[in-house]
Amino acid sequence: MTSPAVETHEHHDIRPIRKAAMWVFLGSECMFFGSMIATFLLYRNNTADGPGAEIFDIPFTSASSFVLLMSSLTMVLAHNAFEKRDARGTRIWLLATALLGTTFLAGQIYEFTEFVHKGLTLSTSSFGSSFYMLTGFHGAHVAIGVLMLLAMFYLSLDGRLYEDRGLNVELVGLYWHFVDIVWIVIFTVVYLLQV
Amino acid sequence: MPLASTPVAIAGKVKHDQKKAIPGVARRSPRLVGLVALLALVLSACSGSGPQTALNPEGPIGRTIDDLWELVFILATVVFVIVQAALIYAIVRFRARKGDDSEPVQVHGNTRLEILWTIIPVVILAAIGFPTVRGIFDVRAIAEGADVLQVQVTGHQWWWEFEYVDLADETGRTLVTANELYIPEDTEVNLTMTSADVIHSFWVPVLAGKRDAVPNRVSNLTLIADNPTPPDAPHPGQCAEYCGLAHADMRIKVHVRTQADFDAWVADQLTPATIPTEGAAAAGYEAFNTCVACHNVTVMGENGPEDIGVVRTIEVDGVTFTSSLAPNLTHFGGRDTFGSGTFENNAEHLAQWLADPSELKPMRPELNDIPNGRILGMPNFNLSSDDIANLIALLEGWE
């Protein structure tokens, strides 16, 4: 299975192909989150006499939004270090990003338990259903992102990060930033605009 | 390995030999394509028939729609004929003929033509678009005013409930009936609709287009009928939105009456049923105890009219709808059909119905949840044949 042509030819850059696919995927995700945000907007006042937007704790959510926002910084720093072939930097910033992401998730879990205590569950009202679905799916995206970051971190331990693989730091980065910008929208639309 | 066995062709070296390669090339022209299609369309144009047709309207609303339809249908037929003619002409005139080996001129396109055949359809569509928009506002206008007969409609799996909200007896009980709608001729009728469970759609083609009855929503449909219908031939209709098991058996009958006949019918409907005191019907009234778990009947009690059975309402968008668990049976004997217009109302059918309702009409009574108002059909009560006979006597007596 060898070809005489290969040895003489440098392997060409295939990263653009993957990046194109990732951007297409993110475009698709816009529709996904857009649908859920629209659902939330439709039902924002449909609380069936249960709790509504007044139970939001803006200062708390602002803090966790800030955490997620900063994880975008650490992510871009990780990518930067990766491009510069700075293995240590990559490792540190990857881990930092995963940590910030986990902090955000912890905040979300705390928030959800608070709300359930205050009587807002998935089945309380259309408002509850659409709130939990939207923020829940976002949380799931963050969780998957954390997993991928940890996988990157694992690969970086023995320097395999630079081998050509389906997933790489840049793609994970794009995904991570996307999850962040979705939260920017959610934070404004779901929290700030409703109180 | 396929590679070795297949002839490998390098571009530019390909043998131009498809004539040899294909045995028995057909030269028949597919003129039939056009012909069959044409026939189909012509047939569909001139066959407005049957009592449930949309092409023979019996009222002004149906007519507005039909006029529009005819206009557009003619335009579409013209487009159809032109396009098919061009297609047939092209394949006949420009078919490859035997013995002619010349190649055609390699035309790549023509911008002027492109513009032309973009603009012409736009013009045609504009000609369709304006009357369409006007038609929407005409047909959708909600009938208003004192002369309008107001009927509230609740769709149920799988029957219709009608409440004439402005027609009440002296005790304030409104006229409630099921499945057979009576309206006076030449009168605007405003149906205000919702659904108790899933989406249904009210459709009586000769009178008007359809309109969905959606849970949690209120919708309106205007009906106007030209002429009274013969007693045995009401306008048939059909629930047009798929609503589960017995969607097909969720039919509608609209009886149109002269104003006088209609008033008589109303007066009749507003009289409570009498409680039978002797004979089979009286025995049937005993057995009827089971039935009032869902059905309700207005009977003449000692102190005037009283309701037996459950009377429920639901409120949607500020409108209160009667939403019974099962059809009101007060004047059941006076109905031509039952089971939502599916079965002729006679003793034989009724006996079958009472013996096993789901055998006649597919339903899912095993999933009923009466306290929560979820009814998916009438259960089989394993009634004895005596009970059945008695109940029939009772029900048919309530005319």
């Binding site: 389906g166 | 390098i10 571009a11 047939l43 949690n216 098991l245």
Partner: protein
């Protein structure tokens, strides 16, 4: 290059079942899609025949209401999501790389994964017939009917099955987009791509952007059924589902037809011996259809209560789709005009497509006239409309593609005589079946009704339709026999049997694993034709002298607008992998688990582990022995 050297250069084609399971070759995956879809077509067709039997007489008793409702739902669902869409995917998989001069799609293993997920989802959907009942809420699953009977798993099968099919399609579409935008051969700029591949791109975009919306709707349906949420029931609004569904459902119908239009745009020029009339207009009208297709979803909801303003807006927008569609029709006729039309089988089906699709399109315009649609909606007139576009258009188009490209797949022709029988019976049967439905619909017959009473004047046309449907059935039996027989015993076709125009005809039939011995350098639309023909002063095609091999000189630079130069000169094909099928299998276990909640949580867990294993192995496995893109 000498003829035989390609044999030494090329990676060998492996054989045996295992090689099919682990294949990442876009051509094999294309064939797998095709065969699977064909089998599914027979299943869905058989379901349709049962429906027809039931409707032959008034008050038919062949099927129970329950059976009928499952059958029409599964018929519609299967035909759309498991037959026509995958048939499109089959052609796309096989021909996108060949059309743009690439060795494979961008992500061969993801491609295999898409197929396996599709296959398993199909099996899952069909298995519902014996595992608690098939979906019975109609193919558009209107809530709250679809969320109502949570005692049954039927609509859970719908929610999960469609979701998984959607995921498979999204992945495949992203793959195709990346392929076309980054892997074109040098010189293959966007305005030289064959129309079929263009339409594949449009379709991929439609799917990428519409499926996630459907996905959200399906999740909501699933949650309403299983976790007590109130998206459509309770205090929710049933119309939300309709919006989410048709935001997907309408683009979906163009997903079904555009590849067929692409095929027809390939076939008609070849058999008219002229280039496609107005190539850029055909391409742009396809793109326009794609865009406009996103703006008309509510024309399925005219009777649901949107309000007159919205109805008017959507009515007018819907009509306007006739404009770009008409442009295509006229350009096809323009292509035949002045040509030398040869009535080979692919061409006959293509002409059938044009003729029948116009009928279906015009009845679509009749629907867009909103007040008329108040009558036609949910009647057999709609059933007639969409079978004319889906069968008269779609199926005729795809069958044309099958006759056209069968020689490329197998190196052999489909049998002429059988093909003739197939065509004429199908044409006859088709019109007998579906033309009467226009009449039935206008005369008030509602769709999805398992029985109808006597006295409404519907028996005769229903009988005609039933007879017609069996004629279609026979025609497809002939087709199936033809496929089986000709695969091994058909007349040998050579590499370029039709005197084709596009690159796939420049390589052997069937193509070698690596497609192109050397990546071609493209200079024209219909590049291959231009290597064979010049034009004389009158503009007539003139066959060039035999040896003109120079035009396919190997080339290392990237093409005009080609991004990133995604083609390579080496012939390293990605190595086979079984991780895609493992991952897909894990997902399907999870899927079954979700259907059978709460007991199914165990399966969800197990499936998730298997999936993780699949993905993990996938991402750790080197793409080829010595690196290759995945």
């Amino acid at each position: 290059m000498v003829l035989d050297s390609s044999k030494d250069l090329a990676p060998a084609e492996p054989t045996g079942i295992w090689s099919w399971i682990t294949t990442v070759d876009h051509k094999r995956i294309g064939l797998l899609y095709g065969v699977t879809a064909l089998i599914a077509f027979f299943v869905a067709g058989l379901e349709a025949l049962l429906l027809r039997l039931q409707l032959t007489t008034a008050n038919g008793t062949v099927l129970s209401a329950d059976a009928y409702n499952q059958l029409f739902t599964m018929h519609g669902l299967t035909m759309l999501l498991v037959v026509v869409m995958p048939v499109g995917a089959a052609f796309m998989n096989y021909f996108i790389p060949l059309h743009i001069g690439a060795r494979d799609v961008a992500f061969p293993r993801a491609n295999a994964f898409s197929y396996w997920l599709f296959l398993f989802s199909t099996i899952m959907l069909l298995s519902s017939f014996v595992l608690g009942g098939a979906p019975d809420g109609g193919w558009f699953g209107y809530a709250p009917l679809s969320t109502q009977l949570d005692e049954f798993v039927r609509m859970d099968y719908y929610a999960i099955g469609a979701q998984l099919l959607g995921i498979a399609s999204i992945m495949a579409s992203a793959n195709f987009i990346a392929t076309v935008f980054t892997m074109r051969a040098p010189g293959m700029n966007l305005m030289r791509i064959p129309v079929f591949t263009w339409m594949a791109v449009v379709v991929s975009f439609l799917l990428i952007f519409s499926l996630p919306i459907f996905g959200v709707g399906l999740f909501q349906m699933f949650f309403d059924r299983n976790f007590g949420t109130q998206f459509f029931g309770g205090g929710g609004d049933p119309l939300l589902w309709q919006h989410l569904f048709w935001l997907f459902g309408h683009p979906e119908v163009y997903v079904l037809i555009l590849p067929a239009m692409g095929i027809v745009s390939e076939v008609i020029p070849v058999f008219s011996r002229k280039p496609l009339f107005g190539y850029p207009f055909v391409v742009f009208s396809g793109i326009a259809i794609g865009f406009m297709g996103f703006g008309v979803w509510a024309h399925h909801m005219y009777t649901a209560g949107l309000g007159p303003v919205a109805e008017a807006g959507f009515g007018v927008a819907t009509m306007m789709i006739a404009v770009p569609t008409g442009v295509k029709i006229f350009n096809w006729i323009g292509t035949m005009w002045g040509g030398k039309v040869r009535f080979e089988l692919p061409m006959m089906f293509a002409i059938g497509f044009v003729s029948l699709f116009v009928i279906g399109g015009l009845s679509g315009v009749l629907h867009s006239v909103v007040p008329s649609d108040y009558q036609q909606h949910d009647s057999y007139f709609v059933v007639a409309h969409f079978h004319y576009v889906l069968f008269g258009g779609g199926v005729f188009g795809y069958v044309a593609g099958a006759y056209y490209w069968f020689p490329k797949w197998t190196g052999r022709f489909l049998d002429q005589r059988l093909g003739q029988w197939h065509f004429w019976l199908m044409l006859l049967g088709f019109n007998l079946t579906f033309a009467p439905m226009h009449i039935l619909g206008l005369n008030g017959m509602a769709r999805r009704t398992y029985r109808y009473p006597e006295g409404l004047g519907w028996e005769f046309w229903n009988q005609v339709a039933t007879v017609g449907s069996f004629i279609i059935g026979i025609s497809f039996l002939i087709f199936a026999w033809n496929l089986i027989k000709s695969r091994k015993h058909g007349v040998a076709a050579g590499s370029d049997p039709w005197d084709g125009r596009t690159l796939e005809w420049s390589i052997p039939s069937p193509p070698p694993v690596h497609n192109f011995d050397e990546i071609p350098h493209v200079e024209h639309v219909d590049d291959f034709w231009h290597r064979k023909y010049a034009t004389d002063e009158e503009g007539r095609a003139v066959r060039m002298p035999d040896v003109t091999g120079g035009t396919i000189a190997p080339e290392t630079t990237t093409g005009g607008e080609s991004e990133g130069g995604g083609h390579e000169d080496d012939m390293h094909m990605p190595s086979p992998s079984y991780y895609p099928i493992v991952a897909a299998f894990g997902i399907i276990i999870t899927g079954y688990g979700f259907v059978y909640l709460p007991g199914g949580w165990v399966a969800v867990g197990v499936g998730a582990l298997v999936t993780l294993w699949g993905f993990f192995g996938w991402s750790l496995e080197p793409v080829t022995r010595d690196e290759h893109h995945d």
